[in-house]
């Protein structure tokens, strides 16, 4: 019944300006019970993230009192939970997943439904690279609701002050500062080698700067081999950090056992055990030691390598739809609005890729900086390992994660690493 009405509503919303949009949305609440039904949502967000997303859902349910959304958190097991649910024929109505590769897999199996109805609305609020990201064989299947800026390096203000260095703007400067930091008595790097994925993030940030976004795209689709010279250049550049073992907190062995929280705590603790850690905008939420933003820790963008232009590598959690119902459509359309994103942005720990979310919505300076950089970036690329088939870029203990951990163990083996990566990629992309 109301499918056409909803798409009309969406069309209207898409055409309306920001304020008019709010008016249309509030108009929906007058048409009470226009859409109704129960929605189930299996999502990656747990803990504080789950609580904050619930606030967004509450706002939606206020607008659509006929719709009840039940959110179930599956955390890191989301791919397993969803795959099992799909195989068993009982998927939830909607889901949020961290791996675009999984979205692609589901789209290929026709397990998820296209969300083309919201394309215009999303195009209005997101830069084109986000649309490309969610599109498979001509249809839009996913919308990233929660983004992550992974081109950030977090540092201990005290360590930088002791060493008398300032956040570096170039890679050469970063390496020089690292030496100074070491001489000051604080190891420069805290490397999260225990999880494999932070290593892939460093590779991607280096690669997009040494090889450029065009090659980045080719490599992400495996239309360029991992044995390509550009990959080796990037690995060599990474080796300048991994090879400086006395400058890594805990040495290579320590780094290989450090998980995200450990590597962040090393930098955030007082006195700092290490000066810098390279990871995304979620770093402050990963810390389990108390530290103050700006005075205790701070952030700088990933430096330019040999004059490369500023670029952002990021990630995000994609919203997908398993059952095409009016209620599900209404919720997706709602989530595409800056209004929905603003609710979570205000609560913190959230970067919206929605470019129309105003910077003032973010509660602190650091998030404002990283989130705006993400939504407005001219050169933005999605985390390459997340785009790859999970067997290569998304599984602990195998593929890129494992091979880069081996590379951290032995950073001199550039050629061997490149050919191992190529071998693993060839098998994974074939399937």
């Amino acid at each position: 019944m109301s499918r056409s009405r909803i798409s009309l509503l969406v069309l209207g919303a898409a055409l309306a300006s920001l304020t008019a949009l709010a008016a249309t949305a509030s108009g929906a609440s007058h048409r009470k019970y226009a859409v109704s039904g129960n929605l189930s949502w299996t999502g990656i967000w747990t803990g504080a993230e789950q609580k904050n997303f619930q606030q967004v859902l509450n706002a939606f349910q206020k607008k659509f009192p006929g719709v009840k959304v039940k959110y179930t958190s599956a955390g890191d097991n989301t791919p397993q939970v969803l795959s099992t649910a799909v195989a068993g024929g009982k998927p939830p109505d909607l889901a949020s997943v961290g791996q675009p590769g999984l979205v692609k897999q589901f789209a290929g199996r026709k397990a998820i439904k296209p969300i083309d109805f919201a394309r215009a609305l999303i195009a209005k609020n997101y830069t084109p690279s986000w649309i490309t990201l969610g599109t498979y064989s001509g249809h839009l299947y996913g919308m990233v609701f929660k983004g992550a800026n992974k081109s950030t390096i977090w540092y201990s203000v005290a360590a930088f002050k002791n060493a008398g260095v300032k956040p570096p703007k170039t890679w050469t400067q970063l390496l020089a500062d690292a030496k100074t930091l070491r001489a000051s008595g604080t190891p420069a790097y805290s490397v999260d080698g225990g999880d494999g994925w932070p290593l892939t993030d460093l590779f991607e940030n280096v690669y997009i700067r040494t090889a450029g976004p065009a090659k980045y795209d080719l490599l992400a689709q495996h239309r360029l081999k991992w044995t390509d010279a550009s990959v080796k250049v990037a690995l060599k550049t990474m080796g300048q950090i991994y090879g400086d073992t006395s400058n890594i907190y805990g040495g290579t062995n320590g780094a290989l056992q450090a998980l995200l929280a450990d590597s962040v705590n090393n930098v955030f603790s007082t006195p700092p055990k290490a000066a810098m850690t390279m990871e995304g905008d979620f770093v402050p939420t990963a810390a389990t030691v108390k530290a103050k933003a700006l005075t205790g820790y701070n952030v700088f963008p990933f430096p330019s390598i040999l004059g490369s232009p500023p670029a952002v590598v990021g990630g995000g959690d994609t919203v997908v739809m398993f059952k095409d119902t009016p209620a599900a459509r209404a919720l997706i359309s709602y989530l595409a609005t800056p209004e929905a994103a603003t609710i979570w942005a205000k609560l913190g720990g959230f970067s919206s890729p929605n470019k129309n979310v105003s910077a003032s919505a973010y509660p602190d300076v650091l998030t404002r900086t990283t989130a705006t950089a993400l939504a407005k970036a001219k050169i933005f690329r999605f985390d390459m390992s997340d785009l790859a088939p999970a067997a290569f870029g998304g599984t602990a203990g195998q593929g890129e994660w494992k091979i880069l951990q081996d590379f951290l163990r032995n950073p001199k083996d550039v050629n061997g690493t490149a050919s191992k990566l190529e071998k693993a990629a060839a098998t994974a992309y074939k399937k």
Binding site: N77, P79, R109, S184, G185, N253, L256, Q257, A396, G397
Partner: protein, 446 residues
């Protein structure tokens, strides 16, 4: 075997003489009694079994029949091959060790005073789930002595024996020093009386700068003496390496050694608050000034239990810790059932305790030992959760076992149910011979 089966008697005894109908009713009753078990078994065991075998011949999407390709992949991929190899090690080592340790505990507990308390302590881990036990061991295995209990203990011992140096993080600055903190640091060029030896060090965190140190001062040359300074060659921004600058502090109480041209130590002195030191009354000649390695000795760094090399033994230790209690209790029960007079007879005949154990106790216990061994064999073949919880993800590939590979392949992001099913079938085939052994043994016992 020859004794009449009592369980089968009543239906036949109570069967009416009019053959056909009565037999039909007997079948019906049998079927009714069997039905619940049969239904449960087919739903939970038979159907999944057949489906898994069928699924293992299809690709990851489930759309294409690919014959034995999944099995080929199983034996040609590094991940699964490591898993198979590790499982083989597990099978070779763990069941035997668990049985042996259980036997030793069982025999010992018969002789000690607080045997009940001891048994409770050994059996306690059985009450903890394997996953939780894994988490406990993972924490105990942490490499940093400040975090892992095992390394904390060894660090307390090692650091007591070999005390860490006062400047354990320092390393030479500039180009004029040779050697490493491990071997001791020596000034490259020889010094003669009347000249100055500068020994700049760096890499010293602000909180490790010795208390009472002041701005380093350039030592003045002195006739007949070797003067010099040891200082923290660092000021914010770095400064010029090797040059004594304003803002750089001296390192007090550092032991400096003077060596003659043959390398023999002929004297030592310690530095003052501004880092200066003097060797007075030195005879003419060429000397070397050095700081010994004791100054730089690192605190004990801990054993990398969770590193790639030790991860398999580390997990096995945790696993044995859990299962030793089970083994001990079962064997102790068997031990209690051994006729005492046999043991007494052996002792009366002059057998030593070891001979009694070896020739009488163990052979009499053989059936119980084989129960424990075979149970452990099956448990070890399907070992899974403890590997998942002890091994950090950076070494999980090194610690992989078949069941873990099956789960990772099917659900761990790869989502290849085809290959996952093939691994499951392979594991099933491995368990069958052990099961057959077990079933045969059961029959024999009945």
């Amino acid at each position: 075997m020859s004794s009449p089966s009592i369980g089968a008697e009543p239906p036949y005894a109570g069967a009416p003489p009019d053959g056909e109908q009565g037999r039909g009713r007997a079948y019906l009753v049998t079927a009714m009694f069997l039905a619940p078990a049969a239904i449960l078994l087919s739903v939970w065991i038979l159907y999944p079994l057949i489906y898994t075998i069928w699924r293992s011949f299809y690709d990851s999407s489930g759309a294409h029949f690919i014959w034995l390709d999944n099995y080929k992949t199983l034996f040609s991929t590094d991940t699964t091959r490591t898993a198979i190899k590790n499982n083989a090690i597990w099978v070779a080592v763990v069941p035997a060790l668990v049985t042996a340790i259980g036997l030793v505990f069982a025999v010992l507990t018969e002789r000690i005073r607080w045997s009940v308390a001891f048994k409770i302590a050994v059996f306690m881990p059985m009450a903890v789930s394997l996953f939780a036990a894994g988490v406990i061991w993972r924490i105990m295995y942490q490499q940093e002595p400040s975090r892992g209990a095992l390394n904390a203990v060894s660090a307390a011992v090692v650091d007591r024996v070999k005390q860490p140096g006062p400047l354990s993080d320092a390393f030479p600055s500039g180009t004029k020093l040779t050697g490493t903190p491990q071997t001791g640091i020596v000034l490259k060029t020889p010094v003669r009386p009347g000249s100055v030896a500068l020994l700049p060090l760096t890499g010293i965190p602000p909180d490790q700068v010795p208390a009472g140190s002041v701005q380093a001062r350039q030592p003045a040359p002195k006739a007949g003496a070797i003067t010099g300074a040891v200082w923290r060659d660092f000021k914010p921004g770095g400064g010029t390496p090797g040059k004594l600058e304003k803002g750089e502090v001296g390192l007090p109480n550092v032991t400096v050694v003077l060596r003659d041209s043959s390398g023999k130590s002929i004297g030592s002195t310690t530095t003052g608050p501004d880092g200066r030191f003097v060797f007075a009354g030195v005879k003419p000649g060429a000397y070397r000034t050095a700081i010994g390695s004791a100054t730089f000795r690192q605190p004990y760094g801990g054993v990398a239990w969770l590193g790639a090399k030790l991860i398999n033994p580390a997990i096995m230790i945790a696993y044995i810790w859990v299962w030793a209690g089970f083994s001990m209790v079962v064997i102790a029960a068997g031990l209690a059932a051994i006729p005492r007079d046999t043991l007494e007879a052996a002792r009366t005949d002059g057998a030593t305790e070891w001979q009694v154990f070896r020739r009488v106790t163990v052979p009499l216990l053989a059936p119980v030992l084989s129960v424990v061994f075979i149970t452990m064999l099956i448990n070890v073949l399907k070992v899974f959760d403890i590997v998942l919880s002890v091994a950090p993800s950076s070494v999980q590939a090194n610690a992989n076992v078949i069941a873990l590979a099956m789960w990772r392949t099917s659900f761990g992001g790869v989502n290849d149910f085809g290959l996952g099913s093939a691994i499951a079938v392979f594991l099933f085939l491995l368990v069958i011979p052990v099961l057959a052994l077990n079933v045969r043994r059961f029959r024999r016992e009945v």
